[in-house]
């Protein structure tokens, strides 16, 4: 008798079981992939630096990505690399959050101008403000490939040993520093 009743409810149980997975699927974003680079060192490269002196000042300075931590008072501190472009609409969503973070001077912000026309990058930064301590240039997207960039904006967080400890694909939330960066930095200590 019990067996018979169990049989009666079996289809409902199977349906519920499936439902749990399907329901979860509704809130999963297939565009968000786990980064293969978490826990690895930031890829080594020497990239040109965007300069603002005059419109003809094509990037002449260069910077070694792995040596960025050695510059000035932020010696050996965690840092953020934000992949952006003037053609990127979603970048405007997160831009105010980076401007705010820059004002607080809590962490070094490095921008990577990804596959962008330099004149447009400068114009974009003049118009919306420049939160970055330094802007690197990746004009043909080669460094982007090294970083596994597939959608702009993307934001990488490096710890004091230059290891990538967090990656955000798409615009960062308002409380990026509090809710994402700080916990990741704490966890990597």
């Amino acid at each position: 008798m019990i067996k018979k009743r169990l049989r009666l409810y079996l289809p409902i149980l199977v349906l519920l079981f499936l439902g749990v997975f399907l329901l979860r699927g509704l809130w999963l974003d297939p565009k968000k992939l786990p980064s293969a680079l978490i826990g690895k060192s930031v890829p080594a490269a020497v990239l040109p630096v965007l300069s603002f002196q005059g419109s003809e000042a094509e990037a002449m300075q260069v910077a070694d990505v792995r040596l960025l931590q050695r510059i000035d008072e932020l010696n050996g501190q965690p840092w953020v690399l934000n992949v952006f472009a003037s053609w990127c609409q979603a970048c405007l969503i997160e831009h105010p959050h980076f401007l705010e973070l820059a004002k607080q001077k809590k962490i070094r912000l490095v921008g990577l101008a990804y596959k962008d026309d330099l004149a447009n990058t400068r114009r974009w930064l003049n118009q919306y403000g420049n939160p970055y301590d330094l802007i690197l240039i990746d004009q043909n997207g080669q460094y982007g490939i090294e970083l596994g960039v597939y959608g702009v904006p993307e934001t990488f967080l490096m710890n004091s040993k230059n290891t990538i400890i967090h990656k955000q694909v798409g615009p960062v939330p308002t409380d990026y520093f509090q809710s994402m960066a700080l916990p990741a930095i704490e966890a990597s200590r």
């Binding site: 297939p30 980064s35 293969a36 080669q142 970083l147």
Partner: protein, 135 residues
């Protein structure tokens, strides 16, 4: 570096690799099918590496190191993917098991009819013949 710069055999390898890698921008397309700007860059990368004499496996693991396992269309045989590879067979076994049960229970029904004496006799004879055969 472009596909067109490759020779015939290199092109064949290029086609094979590009069709086994996923485009990350339009995720249901392979790199070979996609014209997204990133896909074009990655295809150039593939062409360069083929010219440099890299094997298909080396190129695929190069992509996997940067973009994760998701870029590989055919998932690796690993413990994490066990459900993916074995799941269908588990379902098949369950299905066979259930089908057998259904078939068996439907066979029971005719025997519940009141058998005539003739049918009974034939059944007994048949049973006798079968049991003597197995002996």
């Amino acid at each position: 570096m472009n596909v067109n710069d490759l020779n015939q055999s290199e092109k064949a390898q290029y086609k094979e690799v590009a069709s086994e890698l996923r485009c990350l921008v339009c995720q249901n397309q392979s790199l070979a099918d996609s014209h997204a700007s990133l896909a074009v860059d990655l295809k150039e990368k593939i062409a360069e590496q083929i010219r440099a004499g890299k094997t298909s496996e080396e190129i695929k693991s190069y992509m996997q190191d940067r973009y994760g396992e998701f870029v590989i269309y055919k998932p690796a045989y690993s413990l994490e993917n066990a459900a993916l590879w074995l799941g269908p067979f588990v379902v098949l076994v369950i299905a066979i098991f259930m089908a057998r049960k259904v078939v068996r229970s439907s066979k029971v029904i005719p025997s519940q009819e009141v058998p005539s004496i003739h049918a009974d006799k034939a059944w007994a004879e048949d049973l006798y013949k079968r049991s003597s055969k197995t002996r």
